[in-house]
Subunit: 248 residues, 2 copies
Amino acid sequence: MATSRRKTAPGRTALETGPAGTSAATARSSPWRASGERARDRQIKREAVIRAAAHAFNHKGYHNTSLDDIAAALKVSKPTVYYYVSNKEQLLFECFVAGIEPIRGAFRKARRLKASARVRLQAVLGHYGQAVASEFGWCMVRAEDQDLSPVMSAHIKSLKSEIDQGIRRLLREGVQDGSIHPCDPKMTAFALAGALNWIAHWYRENQSMTGAQIAATFITIFENGLIPRVNAEAARRAGAALAGRARR
Amino acid sequence: MATSRRKTAPGRTALETGPAGTSAATARSSPWRASGERARDRQIKREAVIRAAAHAFNHKGYHNTSLDDIAAALKVSKPTVYYYVSNKEQLLFECFVAGIEPIRGAFRKARRLKASARVRLQAVLGHYGQAVASEFGWCMVRAEDQDLSPVMSAHIKSLKSEIDQGIRRLLREGVQDGSIHPCDPKMTAFALAGALNWIAHWYRENQSMTGAQIAATFITIFENGLIPRVNAEAARRAGAALAGRARR
DNA sequence: TAGGATAGCTACTCATCAGTATGATACAGC
DNA sequence: GCTGTATCATACTGATGAGTAGCTATCCTA
């Protein structure tokens, strides 16, 4: 009876039984393999906790979400959540990092592109928009300094600043290579980031557009501007030509 | 002894003694006048409570601000705050309304303008930006549905939607009268509002730019777009001419 | 100058929720 | 089979904070 508890115990989740099942089936052959699987299980569960937190924060807000809520969503108890993360603040922080990491990756990729700054900016903003529309968008955008300890707050601020500076740099380069209309990089970066960040406030999945589509639409809007262009295509080509000349 | 308590009681504020003093000096002549002054005093104090709440929410966030904090900032006790507002939610709501009202006014004024839709949109967005950069900007922008009762939430949503629809309408009109580059009004409105709303996240008074200056800068950025214009001034004039022709 | 209305305070209640103490179970390795 | 470690639950503590009960003082009107 005691040994059969695991099987009959309530509260086992698909999340747990899934990987645990495969582990039980494959781990017997090698002890090292087994312990590795165990570590992997832990990582998978930890990520599930973070995803559940992101989902809850996204729908109810950070302060309106209790760790009991998150635990209930995972069909486990609160101490189990604490077994994977040290506290609520760290949970928010992890969600934030999960959201911002793809954007940092986009910058790294863009840096290797041989193209005008405007095109590289396009690429970055596309990923940016998608990240904001993702499950972690809310946490990324709405993680308030006010809710975090000074240390975490500083850490998040520096990550945010890195993104901001990256956008400003691309804008400056674009103005220099002629691919971007002369502008104040700081204010323009604020405008771009603001418009994209705001997606997290209104976008919900199950909507007609995907995150990528929204990002693409926004980029077109930013690029064209409100003032009519006599010939948008010609202007685009002209911009590209200018940029090409500036880059040799 | 009992009657002298008021004089010696701690916690009297300038806010209270100021208006009360003038009322005492001028009210004797007419009872109606006096009661009017009293009502006015109450209104002044009520507004002070709302301003203090907005300030606190702005700096610490809604959830990190207790009504004790607000009371302390006003140098009164918590029940005094409850004497002027019924609960914390209503306080947030009042701050929201105070923030959004100037924008609704801007729409009313713009409606009477004899100008292209783009120029009218300019006017509205200018006020919009200023409102977001104001003391009530935070409450306006960050009042979350999640923090409010369904009734309040619905009320706020409808006010927000009114603004949104107003912007979309101006965009549609602009595309029709030729003063605005063809675009998806819904997405463009989201982009514009997002960029401006975001001001509330980074702007703090005592900064080098005023709210109006930021709004003006943003509008220029939106109007020009990122793609270089061969001759921005010529383009602007061309747009104006197109618009004029469309409006007869 | 009495009495009602206005304005405010002290001192509470009560609910929520982050975080923990303690103990039970299951699995890996010997 | 035995032991240590990993995993998880029950049941708590302690703090915070929204909102209130009940009292006091002051002002206005008659």
